[in-house]
């Protein structure tokens, strides 16, 4: 087997602060069914959304080092906060393709907007980084971008209150100012948010397009692999593990959550000591 062929068959590394990035993994499974995936969720140190750039970068760097021990051919930073804070640094440090969820999401929003008014809902850290604004305005200087931090969305999603009067009430408080300025496109800028897409959609109304960066990221990954000649040409044979899951803590809880959002059932998630990487 040649080195190039081995590379074709190598897995994609996907990581997140916890379970949220599984929405991105799910899209990759759908759009790239031939690709193997190694997923890492940093459940010992979750969440990232209220932590500093330095800490998020340090954690992301450890995870990238771990994924490289798994011989991944490309890495997807399936976490908006890590994409916002750490991607620029990581790109300089690794020699395999690495993409985040922010750029694909920003690009899709630019394509979708008609009135040039784009909203972003995300964690405090992602909003504070100003990264969506920056990407969007680099590509469309006339666009207006309004960001809104929604710190209670992640705990509400993790508690399973996906359709609940409390989530409605909190969402209404967060979203009112975005409705008031008349945005026509809203980026779901945190990988947990697709789980409350219907609540957000109901409040924003039909005239607002919701952009899910998970979908766009899987599309961009597909193009990238094609460009670099790294695609897996056929579905791995029997006996090859298609998807592997690693976490830094509490594998049981991760498995339960994963099984509620993936169509493919997770047999096991392995706990590793991420601080050692």
């Amino acid at each position: 087997m040649s080195g190039q062929e081995e590379l074709h068959n190598s897995p994609i590394g996907v990581f997140d602060s916890g379970v949220g990035g599984l929405t991105v993994a799910r899209e990759i499974m759908r759009q790239l069914p031939n690709e193997r995936i190694v997923y890492f969720g940093d459940t010992a140190r979750v969440p990232y959304g209220n932590k500093s750039k330095e800490t998020v970068t340090k954690f992301s760097r450890q995870i990238v080092r771990f994924l490289q021990t798994q011989q991944v051919k490309a890495i997807v930073v399936a976490c908006n906060t890590a994409s916002a804070y750490a991607l620029d640094e990581l790109e300089k440090e690794v020699d395999i393709p690495i993409i985040g969820v922010v750029k694909p999401g920003a690009k899709a929003a630019i394509d979708a907007t008609k009135n040039g008014k784009i909203g972003v809902v995300a964690t405090e850290a992602t909003i504070n980084s100003g990264i969506y604004n920056r990407y969007i305005q680099e590509n469309d200087p006339n666009a207006q971008v309004l960001g809104k931090a929604c710190p209670l969305f992640v705990p509400l999603v993790e508690e399973g209150l996906w359709e609940d009067p409390v989530t409605d009430e909190i969402a209404r408080r967060y979203l009112t100012e975005l409705i008031d300025v008349g945005i026509d496109t809203l980026i779901l800028g945190c990988t947990h948010y697709p789980m409350i897409r219907s609540t957000v959609g109901k409040i924003m109304g039909d005239q607002v397009t919701l952009v899910n960066p998970a979908y766009e990221t899987a599309r961009e990954l597909k193009e990238l692999l094609r460009e670099k000649g790294l695609e897996s040409e056929h579905r791995p044979g029997l006996g090859t593990e298609l998807y592997r899951f690693f976490v830094s803590d509490a594998a049981d809880k991760f498995q339960k959550f994963a099984n509620s959002i993936l169509t493919y059932g997770i047999l096991s998630a392995k706990v590793i000591n991420i601080e050692e990487y």
Copy 2:
């Protein structure tokens, strides 16, 4: 200066997963005004309440090692989850007095109850550990203990929704079953919960006594220092820093929160790399 006198003047180490333990530090400041305090908040890895025993023990052990570099004379585990999961291990490993918040809270509840029905609200981890049940029933085998995990209370407190219809609604859902079984005493088994004491009190009604382990822990610390002859006999002189604060991330945010709950203003909190300990 003799070694014993130095020990008298050494600080108390107090730690928590983040800001919650400041409610315990505040009680120590009130009840033991002569004592110096070194506080550590693990803001890079907060929260602990949904993590495993192994992870919480590992994190706690690192923090104890850090506090020992600060020459503390005693340690207060100002976090219910760490007290529940890690205290037994830590006690074996250190040779200075170390106390948690669970035992003092359990003792106060036994003293307070008249009908023997005691409720505990806490994080998932603390409830799953069964530690309040165990302590209470060891001391009062006839007591009935009903635990209820309230995972949304911490994010609601951290978002400042201390008095808010959403917090009322969530609290009502959590507390209904405790009201239904007729408890007369309720332990606030997480250091964040004293901040929503009035919401909880309103829902439980006047006939239910709320126990705040922070208060009881400071009392137990006072007794312990007296027993061991470790009390500071006078308030440290000018030029001695009375209270020092360390965190593992985002010192600014910690300071802001600290200043909202402590009467004493925090001048600065220093960020350290806790994974190195």
